[in-house]
């Protein structure tokens, strides 16, 4: 196997859709809970950044191979 093929398969192993998608969805869900929870205004303040990171991340990782 050539060096570039090994590097490519290694990259593919790291950039699989499943775990990344799960991570992005956890970020979105966590962000929504942070946005509407009634306990901490600090959590509320960081909620939008969390949702945005999750949503942008989800759009990117949904193009990763299965």
């Amino acid at each position: 196997m050539s060096g570039s093929a090994v590097a490519k398969s290694g990259m593919c192993r790291w950039f699989l859709r499943g775990p990344w998608e799960a991570g992005a969805m956890t970020l979105i869900g966590g962000g929504i809970v942070m946005l509407v929870q009634p306990w901490s205004i600090d959590l509320y303040s960081y909620s939008f950044v969390t949702i945005l990171a999750g949503t942008v991340g989800y759009v990117i990782v949904s193009h990763f191979p299965e």
Binding site: E21, M25, I28, G29, G31, I32, L35, V36, Q37, P38, I41, Y44, S45, Y46, S47, F48, I51, L52, G54, T55, Y58
Partner: protein, 321 residues
């Protein structure tokens, strides 16, 4: 060289391929791809004009201090100040909590009632079609109409709703106001929304129930499974994707809910039923804080977009099971 095309576009032997292609183009005028683009182009132009352009413009405005009541002032770029203001404002935070409570209670009630109605309507009985139509009626009304006639129904002096409650509880009809009391108003908007949209959930669940093949129930009968067991092992698992779909649509719609609540309570009494969409309307069209309200609209848009991604993914997973 002359090119002769036969009716079925087969080439006469000895005639070159490029010559055939040129001739075909002359005969047909435009290629299929061009015609397809010509048909789609007006729709794309319309979408760009009424969806994409306002969105991009709103994103631009969210970084400015634009206030339409002082539009003579020069447009000032304020960076992320509007977002910081919103995300440190306790009032907006409370409005988001009110919205979340409204979404949770109304969607939960709609799912329970809608599913129950679907189970009832799924059985064949006398007047089945008539009752289905009657149940579906609220869903077909405009939210503005629903808001107005429920305002009349819930009127403390002349509204029949208070008289109905009075008949069962003995409380004088004019002693309470469903839309005017802090303890009752949030439940009123949940009640009206559930009344209007439970039929929609019923319709989706009914599609799910009708999609279950009869032979599965027949096999369960042969195995002497009880009705309760059939419900938990067959009916509910096979209708979960449809329930998820209903929850997705209703949660997103209720998060954006504006018209019906605005007509029923206008966010009152005080700000008890002020959903975040009403806060947005007040910031944009009462205080004229366009930059601030654009930033709030973007926060809501990203939230709904993110939630839709989760639900669609969950739905696909349940479907594959």
């Amino acid at each position: 060289m002359t090119t002769i095309l036969q009716p079925d576009d087969t080439m006469i032997p000895g005639v070159s391929e490029p010559a055939k292609s040129r001739a075909t183009r002359r005969v047909r005028g435009l290629s299929d791809r061009t015609i397809a683009w010509l048909f789609v182009a007006p729709t794309i132009a319309l979408l760009l004009a009424i969806n994409i352009f306002p969105l991009v413009w709103m994103i631009r405005l969210s970084f400015t201090s634009l206030n339409l009541s002082m539009s003579y002032l020069p447009l000032r770029f304020v960076g992320l100040d509007n977002f910081t203001d919103i995300l440190t404002d306790e009032d907006v935070w409370f409005r988001l909590q009110t919205t979340a409570q409204f979404v949770i209670w109304s969607v939960a009630l709609q799912v329970v009632i809608g599913y129950g109605l679907a189970l009832l309507i799924n059985r064949q009985f006398r007047g089945h079609s008539f009752w289905t139509t009657i149940i579906l009626l609220p869903m077909m009304l405009s939210p503005a109409v629903v808001g107005n006639f429920w305002t009349l129904l819930l009127q403390p002096q002349i509204g029949p709703f208070n008289y109905l409650i009075s008949m069962f509880t003995g409380v004088p009809p004019s002693s309470f106001s469903m839309t005017g009391q802090v303890s009752l108003a949030p439940w009123t908007i949940v009640l009206v929304d559930t009344w209007m949209w439970a039929p929609y959930v019923m319709l989706i669940c009914l599609a799910g129930l009708r999609s279950i093949p009869d032979y599965i129930y027949e096999a369960a009968e042969v195995d002497r499974a009880s009705a309760w067991r059939q419900f938990w092992s067959i009916t509910l698992p096979m209708t979960v994707p449809f329930l998820m779909l209903a929850v997705l649509f209703r949660a997103i719609e209720n998060f954006k809910m504006f018209d019906m609540v605005n007509l029923l309570t206008s966010g009152g009494p005080g700000s008890t039923t002020e959903l975040v969409s009403i806060t947005l309307k007040r910031a944009a069209f009462e205080k004229w804080r366009t930059g601030y309200s654009s930033a709030l609209a973007i926060i809501l848009f990203v939230t709904v977009f993110g939630a839709a991604n989760i639900y669609v993914k969950a739905l696909n997973k349940v479907k594959q099971r």
